[in-house]
Amino acid sequence: MKKSSRLIAGLVGLAGLTFAAAAGAQEKPTSGGTLNMIAQPEPPTLMVGLNTQGPTLYVGGQIYQGLLSYGKDLSLQPSLAKAWEVSEDGLTYTFTLQEGVKWHDGKPFTVDDVIFTADKFLREAHPRWRYIVNTYVESITSPSPDKVVFKLKRPFSAFLYAFELSSFPVVPKHIYDGTDYRTNPANNTPIGTGPFKLKEWKRGSYIHLVKNEDYWKPGLPRIDELYFRIIPDAASRAVAFEKGTVDVLRGGDVEGFEVRRLSKLDGVQTTTDGWEMYSPLAFIEWNLRRPPFNNKLARKAIMHAIDRDFIVRNIWFGLGKTAVSPFASTTRFFTDDVVKYPFDMAKAKELLAQSGIKPQEHTIRVMPIPYGAQWDRTAEYVKQQLEQLGFKAELVSIDAGGWSKAVSDWDFDLTFNYTYQYGDPALGVARHYLSSNIIKGTPFANNEGYENPVVDELFLKAASAVDEAEAKAAYAEAQKIITDDMPLGLLFEQRNVTIWRDKVKELVRTGIGVNESMDETWIAQ
């Protein structure tokens, strides 16, 4: 008993802390060495323009680069663009490109590549960019060989947040122009501008990247070789780190309780930094088209019946923070001034009684998101609490494919999901609440079927605002309304922990964490 409470205390403490390599910063970087990491699950492709799954970005991020990157405070940082400029009216964005950048095959990187990427490749292949480019962008031009200009139809305050690796990986025009992007054989031999080149991909075993000798930042990268191991079993991954087979564990590579154990080992560093751009926020996705979830009071009742602190503490081992608003507390427009739902069974039952819903008449099919054991436990807990309220509940087992399809087709009662924030609510959050986004075909839209014209209006207003204060006010209002309506049962903000051996230096440097080009990362010899 004593032991387990200490465990929990330890985890809660860990979540907030950052053991950044403070001492390491003073050491003199050395070159050379091999860095071992894990790609989990094995990515289908390394072509970031065609796939934006976590492992694809992780590995592909060393090969491809975006126009911009973002600091841990979400400040804009140069990447392939060394400078950027926004016109007063918020309609013209000008990017100045780096000089002397070469593709891995030796061809020079030019402004044509950026225009091709924006106008053709990603417009066709990247759903998130397609939405932005089709909605807001009027033209993409090049006034001079080192400049690209995006002209917008109307202001879009989040526009500058759409240029990091996962939204805007720059792809080589000379390889893709005029081909079928998806079946282009070059997808298996990715050509990017990043610090590392693909040497070998032994499927089911490892992906091997080597130093790009012609990298455009002089003297970089420092590391010679990167290995991304494929280790399908979570327990084996923990063993791999423990045995020193791998040097870095990305958030999600091992289960929560392993994080706690591994971070206590000697010579191990951890941080929750590096996820600021994404700031995943988990929620219950319930189908508002179906009873009892079409009843607002019933939704509120259920929110009160779920001890979200328990979920964070016991199921996620403290690696999270109970969600207050649909916006992550790490992002710019977050406000605490919202409707809150403390755990209170009595209140939950009272609200349920008021709602007129007779829980015993409803059988709720609880569908866990098939992303690992912790989600399963979360689903089991929610099921248990629904039963406490008197509902009948059954868990539906489903694999990733089935889940994706069920959610995309709105064929579910209650499931779980999470969203990446992408630095601005207009990019990551709004898509789940805008009535215009009630579309089939993707699990990451407004699948719950929430329609509130006021919220639609507020999101639109905020996104188009040129003045930040104006946006802030609109978003604050939206957060209030959404937390009152509870179209999604907000659960918690995930805190992902990156763990590494302390010989690895300068690993987590920006708001996209380990997806950032590891050009400055080095290994103490």
Partner: protein, 325 residues
Amino acid sequence: MKTLEFLIQRLVKAVIVVLGVVILNFLLIQLAPGDPASVLAGEAGAGDEQFIAQLRAQFGLDQPVYVQLWSYLQNILSGDLGYSYRNQVPVAQLIMERLPATLLLTGSAFIFSLILGVVLGVLAAYKRGSFGDSLIMTGALIFYATPLFWVALMAVLVFSIHLDLLPPFDMETIGANYTGWARVVDIAHHLVLPTVTLGLFFTAVYTRLTRASMLEVMNLDFVKTARAKGVPKGRIIRRHVLRNAILPVFTFASVQAGQLVGGAVLTETVFAWPGIGRLMFDALMQRDYPVLLGVFLVTAIVVVLVNLVTDLLYRFVDPRIETAR
């Protein structure tokens, strides 16, 4: 001539069986809810109707089932296993990359379990009723009843983590770039744990089978003849009983060879062994049907070939076969 004829007959039969397996699996997969295109679209981060329709057309999923089946059959008969939906790589390439690892693992597990099982079974039968017999048979019973994955987890815990004797996963030391003999030693080192865990269950099976078969043969008349000739017990066991008793064990083992691939799904998961068992599981979870079908096809071919080779060996070992057929 007779062997050639037998070979041709068996090959024809083998092709029929393999085609049957393919058709069976193909139809089975059609029953699956969930459409590969929407899964992929979901996986890609987001998707819309247009994107999914595009994928469906690309995979040929917009065709009627019988058309898909027909074109699939035509393709595999011309040696083309199709493209992976997910990886956009030829399925044959994916499988060929992975197949050697699985063949190595299952092959060594097969040999390990067969040799150990036969030796233990013979010992148990020879010392029937003794303490050694009880010990062997109890061990066999326990390994027969223990879940494979459990043994695997425990083996990693004990031999890799606590004793640090053997590597817990992978097929070779990645990045070490060993060549030649050093590489063989390295792979062998990595092979030990997966082989033993995968093989233990089958060792138990073969031990029990060998013992039973030995005891049965020991009751046959010709053993009595041998005793009546004055042949000593050791020689009777070696020359008369073992040779006759081992044939059914081999037959069973060859039929079971395919089951090792099933067990490999679990073993490859725990030991991060880059084989086709894991490929199959991933393909299944990702609805990557061409890969799934390809793995089943290749597995079926391997199983059929193993059976064929066993039958051929049998014809050399057992003189009765040729006329009995």
